[in-house]
């Protein structure tokens, strides 16, 4: 592959529930809108207001000293789910429990919760527990429908699965002696397919 997806921006809105505990938040909407008029707002309430915020916003506003935000962990990282992961990580449908389980979990460690060591350990052990199955299935599912294998995987595991599949396919091509077979580039094929469907539409 000559390109790689720039995977630094998660595409589904990633959020967690955050508890606001700062009176100053009430003063926040004192800005003006584009037209320069003062927009009349209701005060969102002071201490202890629960709000939902995207992760990037919470990271930007978080301050350890002044305790602007305190974070409530999403369900999957809490005690209950941690015991489930401890018991058997391979059973869990990680795609449903938030497709970015590992990524979001690593980011949540930023917020200095007292449970951080346990969360970190759980995430690591979950990955270790599930990895073998992912690798195994990706290396042995040749030329078949893999949707059943992939559907319970989180995004990180899916990219690993894809890498495994591409390695497997290349190896099989080599075994058949087709590694020197020149082919049209995949871009060209896809582009032509799209053109045909556009014409048909």
């Amino acid at each position: 592959m000559w390109w790689h997806r720039c995977s630094c921006v998660p595409l589904r809105p990633v959020y967690a529930e955050f508890e606001l505990s700062l009176t100053a938040m009430g003063a926040k909407p004192s800005g003006r809108n584009v037209q320069g008029q003062r927009v009349c707002q209701r005060r969102p309430g002071s201490q202890g207001t629960k709000m939902e915020m995207p992760l990037w916003l919470a990271k930007g506003l978080y301050e350890r000293k002044r305790r602007v935000l305190s974070m409530e962990l999403p369900k999957v990282y809490r005690e209950g789910w941690r015991t489930v992961f401890g018991a058997d990580p391979t059973v869990v449908d990680l795609h449903k429990m938030g497709p970015y389980y590992y990524g979001l979990g690593s980011q949540l460690l930023h917020f200095d919760s007292p449970e951080n060591p346990e969360i970190a350990n759980t995430i690591l052990q979950t990955f270790i527990g599930r990895f073998r199955r992912t690798m195994d299935s990706s290396q042995n599912a040749y030329n078949e429908d893999t949707s059943a294998l992939v559907e319970r995987l989180d995004c990180l595991e899916r990219s690993l699965f894809k890498a495994g599949q591409s390695g497997l396919n290349s190896f099989q091509l080599w075994e058949k002696g087709r590694s020197s077979h020149l082919t049209a580039s995949s871009l060209v094929i896809n582009y032509r397919k799209r053109k045909i469907t556009d014409l048909q539409a």
């Binding site: 997806r5 630094c8 809105p13 100053a24 584009v34 707002q41 939902e52 930007g60 602007v68 049209a184």
Partner: protein, 250 residues
């Protein structure tokens, strides 16, 4: 936006409604009464209506989603409009922050600081999204040089903006200079032989009419659909990659 986005995520619900407002009156700082909306997922109804932030940076993420939708390295049209909107949003945020910072400094109003930080986070997020969008497009354009060759089909060229075209030309030039500098006198074409070659001459079949084709010793070959030829490998490689010829292995 379809109802499919109205999932369990309340964040999304708010996005849908505020996007409508964006269209009328872009960038209104809004903490509003969500009771007026028809659909609030049950699990969020306990949360007070006034607890949601307006959705800045939504346009920027939409740009990224657009790129993500076109998988496999396809290049969608350059979303000039989208970029312009995000830049306008950033400009407005920045100006608001400037005034607030001056106010805070001169009058010592430290309670403006959270809103300054909020706008700053939004600015950083927008910047990150735009940078990711532009960079991913550049990576795809770079791949085009290796897959399509030096001359791109017109439809793809329409999808690139002027700066990207400029970048592509510079990249071609750098690559050509490099290829000339290695491999002795005539240089070395590293875009050839992407797969290990097994023979000097290969059997090819024509997939579409391509007109006349001259090979090194001067012979001219007419490439008509479904005709088969025995040609030197290095001449055909480009055409095979473009889908004009097909490598036949007996």
């Amino acid at each position: 936006m379809s109802l499919l986005t109205l999932r369990r995520n309340f964040f999304n619900v708010h996005v849908i409604t505020t996007t409508k407002i964006y269209r009328e009156n872009c960038l209104r700082w809004y903490i509003g009464d969500l009771a007026s909306y028809d659909f609030i997922p049950k699990k969020y109804r306990h949360l007070s209506a006034t607890n949601k932030f307006t959705m800045f940076c939504e346009k920027a993420v939409e740009l990224i989603r657009e790129l993500h939708r076109m998988g496999d390295g396809q290049l969608p049209a350059f979303n000039e409009d989208g970029i312009r909107q995000v830049l306008e949003e950033m400009k407005a945020l920045y100006e608001q922050n400037q005034t607030d910072v001056n106010e805070a400094k001169t009058e010592g109003k430290s309670e403006l600081i959270p809103s300054i930080k909020f706008r700053h986070s939004c600015l950083l997020r927008n910047q990150r999204c735009i940078a990711a969008y532009l960079y991913d497009r550049l990576l795809r354009i770079r791949a085009l040089r290796w897959e399509y060759g030096s001359v791109l089909p017109t439809t793809i060229r329409f999808h690139m903006c002027a700066e990207e075209m400029e970048w592509f030309n510079q990249y071609k030039k750098s690559l050509a200079t490099y290829m000339r500098s290695i491999g002795g006198e005539e240089g070395l074409d590293i875009t050839q032989d992407m797969k290990p070659p097994k023979s000097l001459y290969i059997e090819v079949r024509c997939l579409k009419d391509h007109g006349e084709f001259e090979i090194d010793d001067g012979t001219v070959i007419l490439l008509k659909k479904n005709s088969q030829h025995f040609l030197p490998r290095w001449k055909c490689e480009q055409l095979i990659r473009q889908g004009v010829l097909e490598h036949v292995i007996s």
